[in-house]
Amino acid sequence: MRGDDTRQAIALAVLLAFVLLTAPAMAHEQQGQAAGFVTGLLHPVSGLDHVLAMVAVGLWGAQLGAPAMWALPVAFPLVMAMGGMLGFLGVPVPGIEVGIAASGIVLGAMVMFEVRPPLIVAAVLVGIFAIFHGHAHGTELPPAQSGLLYSMGFVIATGCLHAVGIGIGTVHRWTWGRRLLRAAGAIVAGGGVVFMWKALA
C-alpha cells in the first residue's frame, strides 16, 4: 500500500506541475496587430534619409529604363528583407547610419550624373544599400507588436516610395524632365551629405 501511496503522490505532483506550467491561452483578441502594421507603414516615411534613398532608387530605375526600372524594385525589397532579418535576429551590421547616408549620396549622384552601369552593377549597388535600410527597420520593431504586420507595413511603404520615384521619373522622356531629374538627384545627394555629417558628428 505504501508503494501505491507513493505513486499517487508522484502522480499528483506531476498533475500540479503540469497545471502550474500551463502556458497562457491568448485566445480571441490578439494585441498590437493593427498598430504593428501602421508602425511598419510609417517607419520608412518618418525618416527623410529613408525617403530620399527609396525615391532615388525609383528615379534611377526610371532613368535606366526597362528592365532596370522593374528589376530594381523587385530586387530591393528582397535584399532589404535580408537586412531586416539580421536586425530582427540582433546580428550587428557596422555603420548603419553611415551606410544609409551613403546610399543617399551615391544614389543621388547616380541620378544627378545619369550614370548607366550594367544592370547587375546597379542591382548589386542598390542591394548593398538595401541591407543597411532593412537592418535599421528590423532593429526598430517596437515591443508587443506583430512582427509580420510590421514587416508587411514597411515593405509596402518602401515599395510605394519606389513607385513614387518611378512615377516622377516618367518625366525623363522630355528634355526639361531630364534636367528636373538630375536636379532631384542633386537634392537627394545633398540630403545624403547632411545625413552623413550627422552620422559622423
Binding site: 502522480a11 506531476v14 506541475a17 480571441h28 528582397l78 514587416s151
Partner: protein, 204 residues
Amino acid sequence: MKEVRPSRLSTGAIVAFAGLLHCAPVEAHLDSTGMGPIYDGTMHFLTSPEDLVPVLALALLAGLRGAAHGRRALFTLPAAWLLGSYLGLTATAMNVSAILSSLWFLLLGGLVATDAKLSLRLTTGLAALLGLVHGYFNGTGMGQAGSAFIAAVGLVSAIFVVVALAAAVVVRLRAHWARIAVRVAGSWIAASGLLMLGWALRAG
C-alpha cells in the same frame, strides 16, 4: 487475464488527466462576429494575414499562368482547405508555426516574383498542399463545437471568393507593366516572409 489494481488505474488516470490539462499556448480560435459561425470563419480568414497572404500569392501565381491554372486553384485550394479543417477539428489545438507560414510566403512570393512557369500539375499540388496544411491548423484552432465545421465552410467560402477575384483580375492583365506590378507584389510577399522568418527565429 492480468488484473489491473484500482490504485494503479487511478494513478494512470491522474497522469492522463494531468497530460490533458497541460495545454499548449493557443492564440487561434475564432473571434465572434455576433453573426454566426459562417461569418466567424470568414472574418477569421480575412483578419489572419498568415492565412490570407499565401492564398493571395497562390491566386496571383495561378493568374499569371493563365485561366486553366486559375480555375484549378479556385476549386482545389478550398476543397483541400475544407478537408484539412475537417481533419484538424478532432486534433489537439495548435497554431500554424510562424516558420512554416514564412516558408509559404517565401515560396509562393518567390514564385510570383520570378514569374515561374509552373505546370498545371504543380499548381494543383501547391494548392492542395497549402489547403491541407493551413486548413488542418485552422481546424485545430476552431474547437470541437458543432458550429466549428460551419465556420470552416464560411472560411473556405472566403478563400473561394479571394482566389476567384484575384486570379481573375491577373488572368486578364495584358499590359507588361501590369504583370510586372503583380511580380513586384510577389517580391513584397517574399520579403515579408523573409522578415517573418527572422522574427520567428528571434521569438524562438
